[in-house]
Subunit: 277 residues, 2 copies
């Protein structure tokens, strides 16, 4: 005999989802597709250069007759979900996107304070490891994030330096979005990788390498907000080509892959609780 599960601490329905994307080129196709507008709370991010856009996630199923209109509206209200997409914005001195851990953490901090999302998704591009099965154009739903460039060889500080954090448990989303690969994402502030970086990434069991996720995850952990990490592969870390060349060649394609994937993730989350993911 099976007993019905009694849910203590039942989490509320997800009402607000924040998506943090470091670069404009990574975010633009997604923002365009979702029809997001400048967020009325953008000013609270000042003086960060963050660019914040928001909107209500539209229903896919807009059918229904007059007879069921009330029921439909009730259902729609229940499934109403706000999406906030923030990019790190342009560096005031150098004019380029504020990539890397520091600006991503600051942007995440202000997103979490201002918008109080139920979930934060860090979406972006990444390098992939061929030996872990990654190919250009793949999209990963990351299991865990770690740093590869915070080496602090004092016994009590070593694990802090690596800063491993598990992403939110999403077993049902994985079953639905079967194309998403899984693995560890390793974060560092450089686009390239030295021999020491490669050794650290190998120790981290990294499938993908990028420049923000571990920092964003830490800020989410502080706020006790579930962290989801979606990364599209632009370049192969253990391949013959320089990261910067492949990255630039494939940035637009990876932006499109995020445009295809992130809405599916958002649609899956809408109307669910965090524990349903």
């Amino acid at each position: 005999m099976t007993h019905p599960k009694i849910k203590f601490n039942k989490k509320p329905i997800i009402k607000t989802i924040a998506v943090l994307v470091a670069m404009e080129a990574e975010a633009a196709p997604l923002v365009s597709l979702l029809g997001l507008k400048p967020c009325p709370k953008s000013h609270r991010h000042a003086p960060l250069p963050s660019v914040v856009r928001s909107g209500v996630l539209l229903e896919n199923d807009d059918g229904g007759t007059k007879n069921v209109q009330h029921q439909q509206q009730k259902k729609k209200k229940k499934k109403r979900c706000e999406v906030v997409v923030a990019t790190c914005g342009a560096d005031s001195t150098h004019g380029v996107d504020s990539v890397g851990t520091v600006n991503a953490a600051l942007c995440a901090y202000e997103i979490l304070k201002t918008h109080e999302p139920d979930v934060l998704i860090n979406a972006g591009t990444a390098g992939g490891f061929r030996e872990k099965g990654a190919a250009i154009g793949d999209v990963f739903l990351v299991d865990e994030v770690k740093y590869h460039d915070r080496r602090i060889p004092i016994p009590t500080f070593t694990k802090y330096g690596v800063g491993a954090i598990r992403t939110a448990e999403t077993p049902n989303m994985r079953k639905t979005l079967k194309d998403l690969k899984r693995g560890v994402c390793s974060t560092g502030n450089s686009l390239d990788a030295t021999e020491v970086d490669r050794e650290m990434m190998s120790r981290n069991d990294a499938s993908v390498k990028e420049m923000e996720a571990a920092a964003v995850a830490k800020v989410c952990e502080m706020f006790d907000v579930p962290f989801v990490c979606v990364k599209a592969i632009t370049d192969i870390v253990d391949g013959p080509h320089a990261a910067e060349k492949e990255f630039l060649e494939n940035l637009a394609m990876a932006g499109k892959r995020l445009q295809e994937t992130v809405p599916k993730v958002l649609e899956f989350m809408r109307g669910k609780t965090v524990t349903d993911l």
Copy 2:
């Protein structure tokens, strides 16, 4: 004939000075000497693990007779200066001080939002380069900060990666506090240094190496708040000993050196405008 100088945009007297220190052991002697208490605005830093203490900088000269009492009080009021000392606090998972750029930037961000200081000082320990004249126990008043671990080999991003920022101009303070050495401070998230790090630090013309300053400087730049950087040397980067060994041996001594030096910096600033520094 000399014309009196007309000061446009006359800056106000410095009323609040923030001091950001990454580690408790670096800050403790200073907090103790200044007699600071838990800051009433500490709660605004939540959920950051920052530890924030504040107090009013006491006058050195408390003399004066009854006849000049009113004048003295007026002078004292003019020179009243609040000091806020914030440390990055303990990591919730690993229990150690939250060292490195991400946590320092988050702490700086909340300090600048909450306390609105007129100046922010990043004080702490650092490695020093012998070939640039640094010795253990020296204290540097830094001229410029740069990163050595943000390599982004895309032409438009390279300078952003290095992230060079000049500290506040303090020619008068330098004349008064003659013992303070000067040079470039190079920031990275590792306590050790790889060959590539050393090459980058050499290109940065680094005299000292530490783990926070360039990130804190960037946040100050965003808020348009003058940034001052004071670093006490615990270890020699281009010497024969491992950084971590010398660092641990000399951490308490460097904390004492900061205890001696930072109050002199605060005392020099009190009652002055930023342009008087």
